[in-house]
Point group: C2
Chain length 154, copies 2
């Protein structure tokens, strides 16, 4: 049985930044996934999916967020907040940069591969945020083709 990792005091505040990014993306007609990279008290960067807006298939929320945070010598002590369970590319970025902790608002609308992250020692905190589930469900209903292409045609 999986032991659930504990929430930290600022998790809600930091996830709010990621959710606002997702909502911005939704208003722009894009895939509504947002992310924020933070230490326990500071947001280092944030971003949202820009596949539609910039015609950039690699600009998933997590990638846009890491791009916004800029190059770092180390990601020790950081947490990546994301509104949706990370895809293989974004999971690979988390593993590459050895980001130690990831908080995922929901994995109901896209499962991702949380086990892969955990197998690499990432501390994964999994929520079931109703706002994020509703936002992504609405997008998937409106734009099934864009959504399918964003996750590699599955």
């Amino acid at each position: 049985m999986m032991t659930e990792s504990p929430r930290w005091p600022d998790d809600e505040t930091m996830m709010r930044v990621a959710i606002e990014e997702a909502e911005t993306g939704f208003r722009q007609g894009g895939v509504p996934v947002g992310a924020a990279l933070a230490t326990p008290d500071t947001v280092l960067g944030s971003g949202h999916n820009e596949r539609v807006q910039r015609r950039d298939p690699t600009a998933h929320g997590e990638i846009a967020c890491l791009r916004d945070a800029g190059p770092r010598a180390s990601y020790a002590g950081t947490t990546l907040y994301t509104t949706l369970s990370p895809c293989p590319m974004c999971s690979g970025a988390i593993i590459l940069f050895q980001i130690p902790r990831v908080v995922i608002a929901e994995r109901v609308t896209y499962a991702g591969d949380v086990d892969l992250l955990r197998a690499h020692g990432v501390d994964v905190v999994l929520w079931a945020d109703e706002r994020c589930i509703a936002l992504m469900s609405e997008f998937q209903r409106r734009s099934p083709q864009v959504w399918s292409e964003d996750i590699g045609g599955r």
Copy 2:
């Protein structure tokens, strides 16, 4: 024993595009990794690592190349040419978008995880290109810190 996948007629030509990207990056003071996405007779996009130039840690050669190629409904029939064995993030992108074939100029200076790609059904063609080995070795010798950070501090 591993069976080596065959070369295709235009592989040399397409890899030349990737190598030129790597050489451009090197001249700019960046990490000299380049990539090209192609069908058997057409280059769809190309790019090089821009961690240094754009201060973008996600701009590995393969990601910059996929960004340059733009959004696609499908990657069926494409080959990704890269001068260096893909890192976890770039391997994840290949897996995400179901890119069926990857030609890697060398994995001597960075091993990557070729087995992961093969486990996902990717046809991996592995070269040991002396030009690429020399270029990356020279960069690693000159800029060990940048190189280490580019692959997550390993």
